[in-house]
């Protein structure tokens, strides 16, 4: 591996999101599966980023299985969370004023 430290974990071959296994700082330059990216914001451990560019309404696949659909276009390396991903099952809850989509 080129990078000494691993930031992203792929859980399954056909996933289109990767898990952040080391917190990422805004502006940090990273390699995302061979592609150089600059982090647009701080992303905590355990969160997800897009493995590639995604269109609105696309199924997000993690563990090799769908976990919901995108609500907007997402670029490679961008944080994927409640602001751009929604459940196909029931809405998730957030604290008022936080991630209210």
């Amino acid at each position: 591996m080129q990078n000494q430290e691993q930031y992203f974990l792929r859980l399954s071959a056909n996933d289109n999101v990767l898990v952040v296994v080391k917190a990422i700082q805004q502006g940090q330059e990273l390699e995302l599966e061979g592609v150089k990216i600059t982090a647009q914001k701080t992303i905590p451990f355990g969160h997800k980023v897009a493995a590639r560019a995604l269109t609105a309404g696309e199924k997000i696949v993690k563990f090799g299985m769908p976990i919901g659909s995108t609500t907007t276009t997402i670029s490679a390396g961008e944080h994927v969370h409640t602001h751009n991903l929604q459940s196909d099952y029931i809405p998730s809850f957030g604290r008022p004023g936080e991630g209210g989509h």
Binding site: V21, P66, I67, V80, T82
Partner: protein
Amino acid sequence: MQAYLRSDGRKGIRNVITVVYLVECAHHVAKQIAAPFEDDDVHVIGFSGCYPNTYALEMMESLCTHPNVGAVLLVSLGCESFNRNQLAETVRDSGRPVDVLVIQQTGGTRKTFEVGREWIRRTLTELEHVPRVEMGMNELIVGTVCGGSDGTSGISANPAVGNAFDRLVNLGATTIFEETGELIGCEQDMVRRAITPELGKEILACMEKTANYYNILGHGSFAVGNAEGGLTTLEEKSLGAYAKAGHGALHGIIKPGNVPPNPGLYLLDVIPDGEVRFGFPNINDTAEIGELIACGSHVILFTTGRGSVVGSAISPVIKICGNPETYRRMSDDMDVNAGRILEGQGTIDDVGLEIVERIRRTAEGEQTASESLGHREFVLTYKSFEPIGPSCLPLALA
């Protein structure tokens, strides 16, 4: 590997004597009978309730005739409702040594200690003569459960167990997962993986029952803390637990005490049937482990992030820690460090292979961390179940 051959043809990887209290009033006596035999596989299990429960009786019948069990000593106070004669007869019919001590008839605590300990000394010698036979990985039944989970469980330990489950099924073994309450949102995928459409319908009915049960009890669902930890949707959270089930076909749905009839992957439905009666379906991880063992599990794979320490009576528990910091802090209690996946020190595939190897060594007799530390937890509560329908085990019909 060498196994203990039971007269019903089943093979065990341990040769345990269970000392069984049949009401809480007999618990202390059972515990003290077993106390001098701490270094032997003499395990105390029991049921606390004084009033009869069919599920508890059937669980005890399954557990006391489990292939890892060689002999059974029942300890009754004398006036409780547990059907000790039926349990003793079931064990006797299985060809195992069994005795029943009734404290009120034996003459109290001290006399029962003496009689019980003498029986165990004799029986330990007798158990040395249980025939040993060759056993393959394909003859193993492996159950899995998670407990003390954190944000790492779903991305390291659970997918690694899923990888191990896929490998085990490829070897011809039998695997069981459960926790239907944490699988809400995964039902469509389980239906897709079911080997028949009728089994798929049974899974949907089971998940509907589960959702209803949890709604009435008023717990379960997606919490704010989950989103802060990086989980976005309910199905994502459930998939973290579901990852333990790997990617293979789903061969059937069973209930506590049903032993899978063929190799493959099975879902254990632990949610009681009928109206909500006895409270929480499972009051803790140990109750779930007991049900997996009642379904014949020789070994339990227990994933944890925050750091559980439990083991179990009857079947060894292999603890797989998903959080590397927890592993460093509590390594004495852990068997496998799946947290290394998060530090780039190995892949899910590497850890899956390590887990299978660990199962093989455990089956060959090597002690797990919890076994060497003397963990032999057990709990059994009141529940009620209807028998499973014919669509639940499609291959059993063939």
